[in-house]
Symmetry: C2
Subunit: 379 residues, 2 copies
């Protein structure tokens, strides 16, 4: 008989671990017998799986309350999730500030904070600021931290060397998986999952700011693309005969719908300049809405705050140029999460890409943080 592939066994084991965590998440504290009944796993398989989860401090075992003690033999031991299991952190190393958010297993925000960090502050100092902020928000311990998502500003695609440094520094300090993404794309994910989109399966996000960026959410997940440019709507052609863009192409949307472009055309007080930005955005997004067919189009960034003067021309151009069947059911909304968007998207990314008890879970070795002088001690 052929031997079972090790990879298949590993996958099976992860599935079983996830089943156990899922049952504990739903039922709270249960005995080993109840766990066997609710998962359908054999006692032998369960024993090995719970042993590993306890070793990684994802699950804790303890005596049942008094009424659970039987007349003879050992008291019944109950298994439950570690209280801190399921915490996730999101960090946005954005323009002008560093922001971090920590959420619990119930997806509630338990801590949020920011440190001013002007654009001219060097890269290493920004990372230090992020570490200080995280130490504070994590209350002195990385126990139960399932992962850290990090949003970076930067050229497209995300800068390899910086991303690697961030992954190394945060991973070493907190002993949890670290994922890095472009922070505009993370804002797109956050808006689709929690914000203006609240559960949208397919969403297109456009961010009209110093540059023009965006993100595509497909089936509830962020689309990265083959080389990490997915969602770069700022470099779709708005005018085939337009001037040359910094990317090398001509007539890119960013030349018409960024803050500097609006400034150059008369400023945000000039209705014509603002309307042109809206029209060009609508023209480019029309093609994307026809071909990607989202249920939701989210407009964010400083220019979105200009309201109807921008959104009116955007929407009328979009409606004139989108395939009617694709327009059916399309909602156009403005972004809602503001400055926390990138950090919240980083948490959403961790929850999607690093499922609990498989890649994540508290590490047994993760005790109080080195270099952190205790809860609330940093400013």
């Amino acid at each position: 008989m052929p031997r079972t592939e090790p990879t298949a066994l590993t996958l099976l084991r992860r599935t079983h671990e996830a089943q156990v965590v899922d049952v504990l998440r739903r039922l709270g504290a249960v005995s080993r017998g109840e766990l066997a009944r609710h998962t359908g796993l054999s006692r032998t398989a369960l024993s090995s799986i719970t042993g590993a989860l306890i070793g990684r401090a994802v699950v804790v075992a303890g005596p049942a309350p008094a009424e659970g003690v039987r007349g003879r033999g050992r008291p019944v031991e109950l298994l439950r999730l570690h209280p801190a299991t399921g915490r996730c952190a999101g960090v946005d190393l954005g323009r002008g500030r560093v922001r971090a958010v920590v959420a619990n297993a119930a997806h509630q925000i338990v801590a949020s904070g920011a440190r001013a960090c002007p654009p001219e502050v060097p890269w290493e100092r920004r990372t230090d600021a992020a570490l200080e902020l995280l130490d504070e928000l994590l209350d002195g311990s990385a126990a139960g931290l399932e992962g850290i998502g990090v949003g970076l500003v930067g050229p497209v695609p995300a800068p390899g060397e910086r991303a690697a440094t961030v992954v190394r520094l945060l991973g070493e300090r907190y002993g949890a998986p670290v994922l890095v993404e472009n922070n505009t794309r993370l804002a797109a994910l956050a808006e689709a999952v929690h914000g203006a989109g609240a559960g949208a399966r397919h969403a297109v996000y456009v961010h009209l700011s110093h540059g023009v960026g965006g993100g595509l959410v497909v089936d509830g997940r962020l689309l990265g693309g083959a080389s990490g440019t997915a969602g770069e709507v700022g470099h779709m052609t708005a005018d085939p005969g337009g001037p040359r863009c910094r990317c090398g192409n001509h007539g890119c949307l960013e030349l018409y719908a960024s803050l500097p472009a609006v400034e150059a055309a008369g400023g945000p007080g000039d209705d014509g300049a603002v309307a042109r930005a809206g029209r060009m955005t609508g023209r480019v997004l029309a093609g994307l809405c026809t071909a990607v067919n989202p249920e939701l189009l989210i407009v964010g960034g400083e220019l979105a705050a200009l309201g109807a003067r921008l959104l009116g021309p955007l929407e009328s151009e979009l409606r004139a140029r989108t395939l009617p069947a694709a327009l059916r059911g399309l909602r156009i909304v403005t972004a809602r999460l503001g400055d926390e968007g990138g950090a919240l998207g980083a948490i959403a990314l961790i929850r999607q890409e690093a499922p609990p008890a498989v890649n994540g879970g508290a590490r047994a070795a993760a005790g109080p943080l080195a270099g952190c002088t205790g809860p609330g001690s940093s400013g």
Copy 2:
């Protein structure tokens, strides 16, 4: 203690069924004891799961070969997959013909055939032709058929009434799940999975024919979109100042890159007309490649057969207008599966969307087909 949700239990059961089928697929014939060891499931859970799979004729139980018979007690019974388990059928109710393909669990094509069916043949007769063809290709029995995928030509989105009729007729006759999709999108999926793309995670397909259509494959799966228009690149704007299209918008790609458009501009022998079709296609796809960032762009349909006269201008316009980072690693290829593309895509869709032993598996009731006079008897 709160009760377990029925939905969670159902999901758990499906996971366990899939584990059992997966083990049998890898190991062939195994005893119940071996199955318990390889899945980690308890005997009690296994008994219920294998009972259901045997009832649905997905799994068959039989005595082991002679050496398996022990001195006392019952001979050891081995479980294996039904020999026909895992067959899938794909049907393309396309322009000018009906085509069908049947593949086995090893993804080999075991039967393929077509019936001429000119465009003027009424809808009901086309469905009859598909049923006759399928009866023949399935060799008189629907045993082990996991599902039937069907590709339809049609306005966007796929026509609801026709789709419902096809699902009903095929479902009643073969007792298997039926999924319906636009046949150009199915060709896109087939090219990405088996054809020119062979395993591409992210692909954009454009079909230049009587109309201009296409499909997007994201993470290996076909993107349908919120209202079923995903991939409709023919109605993305190629020239903002262009003439009115039948869809109501102006300057759509289809007005420049369809067979009728090339005919009207001088015909496929006219280099200028062909080059314009290529240029306009490249212009529209450039934006899509920037924002969706595929690793593969596949050009299919009759115009793709014109070769470099079309593909040269297409590629140079595409390269001039796509974000450089998105161009990195992008391959441009022509479609390879020809007339079988739609039917093969229909099979790929069934394999992705109706996993074995969950939605599919042979139906116990599926015997020889009513109305089919036996293998090979139809012409």
